[in-house]
């Protein structure tokens, strides 16, 4: 039985579709169109906003200050995505080839942090990274160990260990975003690898290709849809991240979402904030369009 034309069963159709459609219209499309309209408005008085059709807000968004923050957000998000891919791919491989007994537990191990509150995870990482935290202590021990080794071999000891600033800088933002987004990357990779026909890998190995070559020439191309899904699912939220740069970043690690927030809370320039929001949304659309432009090659798992 194919899909039913709605006119064949209008009662059933409206029974399931009226509420969700109305909800989406009222609580999603209407609010979003307000943002869109506001982006063409200007402040008159303290709370009054006039929708005048001006393009000034968009013009201001192209000032170098904002363009540079935007480019920086993109660079941070791209870096985070690459790190997640490199770190996550072997994990997804391990999940795929794990024994039946271990696989569910390993999956659970990856997914449990994903279910844990984002703010709690960020706070936990902040505790660890502080100048008095364990990350610094571990580095200190390593440093002392290296110093001791040098003395042991008759060389000058290293200067005394000074705690390094691991928090409130760009490094912390990237680390925090990787920490938060890693499960997002692993899950789509795993679901693509899991569907892959294992006999193809065996064939490649039998025909004399090494493990690395098999990985690059056979596994990677076949897992491409999963890689792309993973990249999108990591890149998009990382680009719009607010909490991690806000809590873990320094004054120079503001990302675009922090600038938007400032327009609405402190700077009280709603029209400009609305314009920046839509610039971000358009960027998302471009990313998604780029991804769907890519033609699926023959033989790729869907």
């Amino acid at each position: 039985m194919a899909e039913q034309h709605w006119k064949e069963n209008p009662k059933g159709f409206w029974a399931v579709s009226a509420t969700p459609l109305l909800w989406t219209l009222l609580f999603f499309l209407v609010p979003m169109s307000f943002v869109w309209l506001y982006s063409f408005g200007s402040n008159v008085g303290l709370t009054e906003i006039e929708i005048s059709g001006t393009l000034d807000n968009y013009k201001r968004a192209t000032e170098w200050l904002y363009v540079s923050i935007f480019l920086k957000s993109l660079a941070v998000a791209a870096l985070v995505t690459v790190i997640c891919l490199v770190v996550g791919f072997p994990v997804a491989m391990a999940l795929t080839f794990a024994s039946e007994k271990w696989r569910p537990w390993l999956l659970l191990g990856i997914m449990l942090p994903f279910w844990t509150n984002l703010l709690i995870r960020t706070y936990a990482l902040m505790m660890l990274l502080g100048t008095q935290g364990y990350a610094n202590k571990t580095l200190g021990w390593l440093w002392d160990g290296a110093s001791w080794l040098k003395v042991f071999f008759g060389m000058q000891p290293l200067p005394t260990w000074e705690p390094v600033q691991l928090l409130y800088n760009n490094f912390a933002v990237v680390l925090g975003l990787v920490y938060v987004h890693l499960p997002f990357m692993v899950l789509p990779l795993y679901s693509a690898l899991d569907r892959l026909d294992k006999s193809l890998i065996e064939a490649s190995l039998d025909l004399g290709a090494g493990h690395l070559r098999t990985l690059m020439k056979v596994v990677m191309p076949l897992a491409m849809p999963g890689v792309i899904a993973g990249v999108m699912i990591t890149l998009i939220p990382a680009l719009g991240a607010y909490l991690t740069p806000d809590l873990m970043g320094g004054t120079d690690s503001q990302m675009i979402a922090n600038v938007i927030e400032r327009q609405f809370k402190r700077a009280n320039d709603w029209p400009f904030g609305a314009a920046l929001s839509f610039v971000l949304i358009y960027a998302m659309f471009i990313l998604i369009a780029l991804q769907s432009l890519r033609k699926p090659r023959r033989g790729e798992a869907k």
Binding site: A2, E3, Q4, H5, N9, K11, F13, V16, S17, P20, W23, F27, F28, L29, P31, M32, F34, V35, Y38, P90, M93, A94, L95, W102, P104, L106, L107, L108, M111, T116, N117, L118, L119, I120, R121, Y123, A124, M127, L128, Q132, G133, Y134, Y179, L182, L187, P188, Y190, G240, Y242, L243, L247, A257, I260, W270, A274, S277, F278, L280, I281, M284
Partner: protein
């Protein structure tokens, strides 16, 4: 440990048994869990400054549970998550059935629009909700739980598309002949839905509700923009505590929420079995 040193030779595809793979996965798990474990251990630390172990105490749990705003925030969050889950489940299942069952004009556009809240950055949705509720002049001084209505509405909006996604994936495996058979045997439209389609959707509904509950409980950004001056949720409260005064109370409250998450996950696993749950999520 036995598994690490067993002697059966490794088959070519048993990548998980190679040493470097184990080390890699092990380090990733340490990276994911070490911060959470440290946080939980230090919730029992008898020190205000959080960093050096000074002995075991549960006084910060007492303090957290006696902190009225913290408890209120937690109750608010759980209420919002509960309400948002119920509504998202109904809306999400309806949408999934609509998109799976019917053919109609502009279906592609409707499909795309409904999944937009998944793609639109949280900050933009938060901003949209802020403008919307300011424009309709939504009352903020209502009695509990009505004062949570704006946040709940915002949460439903971004949660239900996820439920739709999960339920739709499950519906794809439904054999429509089963429904036809039921109807041939005299079941009404509603009976066929209730007795044939709904049981098939059940695992997806459990997974979807868990997802919606987690997403709602997790959300900070959208809530931050929608919350009135007097309504506070758990993430918003923790945010202000982390910002202004890091005390072991935050650790204690966080530990309680982590334990709650683990318990919920265990219940879901009990209902569904590990495999089902993880598959419908991925």
């Amino acid at each position: 440990m036995i598994a690490l040193f067993n002697r059966t030779p490794r088959a070519p595809l048993e990548y998980t048994r190679t040493l470097w793979m184990r080390l890699w996965v092990g380090s990733v798990l340490v990276f994911l869990y070490a911060p959470l474990l440290v946080l939980m251990i230090f919730s029992f630390n008898d020190s205000k400054r959080n960093v050096v172990w000074r002995g075991f105490t549960t006084k910060y749990y007492e303090k957290a549970l006696n902190n009225d705003t913290l408890v209120e925030a937690l109750v608010n969050s759980l209420t919002i998550a509960g309400l948002a889950t119920v509504f998202s489940l109904v809306l999400g299942a309806m949408t999934a059935v609509m998109l799976w069952r019917f053919k109609f004009r502009l279906k592609g556009i409707v499909d795309g629009t409904i999944s937009l809240p998944i793609i639109v950055p949280e900050i933009c949705l938060g901003v949209a909700m802020l403008i919307f509720f300011a424009w309709v002049d939504w009352p903020t001084d209502l009695i509990w739980p009505l004062n949570l209505s704006a946040i709940t509405i915002a949460h439903i909006t971004f949660c239900f598309p996820f439920v739709t996604m999960v339920v739709r994936a499950r519906l794809a495996s439904f054999n429509k002949e089963e429904e036809e058979a039921a109807k041939d045997l005299g079941a009404s439209e509603w009976q066929a839905f209730r007795d044939v389609l709904l049981p098939h959707m059940r695992p997806a509904l459990v997974a979807g509700s868990l997802l919606a509950f987690t997403l709602s409980l997790d959300d900070f950004v959208i809530t931050f923009f929608t919350a009135g001056p007097d309504t506070i949720t758990f993430p918003v409260k923790v945010y202000s505590m982390v910002r202004f005064s890091v005390t072991p109370e935050v650790n204690a409250a966080s530990t309680l929420l982590i334990v709650l998450t683990v318990v919920l996950t265990a219940i879901a696993l009990k209902i569904q079995g590990t495999r089902n749950l993880t598959v419908s999520h991925a």
